[in-house]
Amino acid sequence: MKHIKCECGHVNPEGTVLCEACGKPIEGNQHIDGNDRKKLLNMRYEGSARRSQTYNKSIIDKIWSFFSSVKVGVWLIVIALVASAIGTIYPQKMYIPADAISRDPSIFYEETYGLTGKIFYQLGFHVLYSSWWYMLLIALIGVSLVICSLDRFVPLYKALKRQKAKRHPSFLERQRLFSQTDHVTDGEKEQVIQALKKQKYKVRHEEGHILAEKGRFSRWGPYVNHIGLIIILLAALLRTSSFMYIDEYVWVREGEQTVIDGTDSQFYIENKEFILETYDENDERFAEAIKKQGAIPSNFQTNVIIYKAKEQEVPGQELELEVYDEAEIYMNHPYKFEGYTLYQAGYQLNEFTTMTFAVTDINNNEQIDQFMIDLTNPQETYELNDGFRVMISEYYPEYYMSDNGPDSRTDNTKNPAFVFAVSTPDSEGAEVSFVGDYMNTPTNFDATGENDYRVELIDAEMHNVSGLTVRRDYTLPLFGLGAAIFMIGVMQGMYWQHRRIWVNVKGDGVLLAGHTNKNWFGLKKDIEKVISDTSINQVIDQQELD
């Protein structure tokens, strides 16, 4: 194929279906837009030469034309949709419940869901949304979006720019709205032009031929829309960089001071108080619901002090902190500072802060002394009255009985237990007793059964632990921009229409044709107004219903 010179004199790029200037159907190319099988012309891209449909020589061109196909794009979207849907059938790996048979995915899915679960796991659907092929699929949709848009926008833009007022009769005849009038006076033509201008059409007048156009802007809607989508995809891509997006979680118990994750050790947080308020059960509005399901929280709140670390030579423990700010963090009231946002996200109630024990003589029930253990930092030994001394042999902050004997699950003081060694002034050795597990089966175990002294819990103080989400998201404005551009594109394409009316001279009369990308009724009304009081025939809707 070569460049095609139309009889109107315009040279069209190869692959052109309708001459860019006069619209004459170009012989041999009509199959591209399916014009060979219909009376009406396919006007979607103005019959312009979409390059991808014509050149297919190098590998670059082949890749290009593959992605420029809308069919390919739609299939990519369908595959992504189906895969996303399948991924929701069973929980993703990170959502395997804590009380599941096993948190090991190779066991969990098969045990819980049987064969389908096994297949789900083996095909990798349990980590679908971070699997390479899923991400590749999303990326390919992005590629398809870019190439499809470029491949259509450029030729369409050129075709609309190069169009002439004079069109080939065969182009006009094959428009959906068309009429022919044999005798029209110059006065009537002038009248038509004035009427078109009145209706805010841009009128071009070339050698007696008229092209009236309105709302070409609407044709760019889809491309503007795609630019918005591409910006959204880019924003999602940027979220993978830790500069643009940080999402961390920090647990801080009341009274504790700890680093805020994600802030490069620049900021520290102290939990002054965690508050959990519930709805009043005496309020008749809530009483019934509370009776049904127990206390209902009305507020979770953490009062915090934020510290900023002073410039230090090396990170470590001897850091100097200065108070940066104090804040109350609760639902819908995150605390924002220096680009970071802290959200109230979780809590743990009732961990032990201190425990006070009494040492008592079993024989006469006389209390020797008391001592208080700070559970966050217990001492090795506690000196008591009269030369008594208690040594902590073992300390389990969250006691449980493991397969290998007593152990601690974490270092959270949820269920403390101790092995005490009590040494008395008058005997050489020490009496050993196991004390604790107050949350399950309170134990005060005497290993030998011959102890003379008992260590008893007499008092305890509790604290709560607050969980805060730390987030920094510089990509949000970009998401907002993308979404705004997306919406502008949608509106541009939806609320405006590209209407064109051609009035071409033929002999003594005129050929009248109209085209719009939507709302044909409106265009017909426009034409009706334009030709009223003239002898020009109203257009006939030649729509083919197939």
């Binding site: 971070s130 991400m135 992005g142 990170p315 470590g316």
Partner: protein
Amino acid sequence: MSLEDRKASKHKKKKQRLVFRAIILSVLLGAIVYALVDNLQKDKSIYKVGDEAPDFELLQVNDNNEMEKVRLSELRGKGVMLNFWATYCDPCEAEMPYMQSLYPEYKEKGVEIVAVSLDGAELRINRFIEKYGLTFPIPHDKKDTVRELYKVGPIPSTFFINPEGVIVDKVEGALTLESLEGHLEEITPQ
């Protein structure tokens, strides 16, 4: 326009088109590769193999070791195994005897084992040290500063740092005796 001119301009256009397409496609390919590689990297920490290990200083709590403080930069010239652990973590407990059994030999060869404890109560660390007779330095990271610095996720987590202060390996999860020895060999000064 003569036929030759037209041919020449057509040829030029074809070339331009190819270059344009190649550029667009390679930009898109670049973005995809970046997105995939970045997302599939399990290791989200800032410091990766090949980076210089960031310096820190912590108080040391093991009485069996003469060091008072551990400052990483002062260990330059020695290979350093930087281990993050806690007393309540069973896999950490499992690898501790291996570390202790190899420590005296590799200390001679110029390798230091630094086991940063993420525990709360020092008492528990002391009991643990007694139980396993540990002699290597155990800094106590009370405020989680160093954990955050190294972006340590699940423990145990171990960085192997060569005498030049560069991270040569990072292991998440417990080490066996053999693999531990292999890693220590790797960071032994020549």
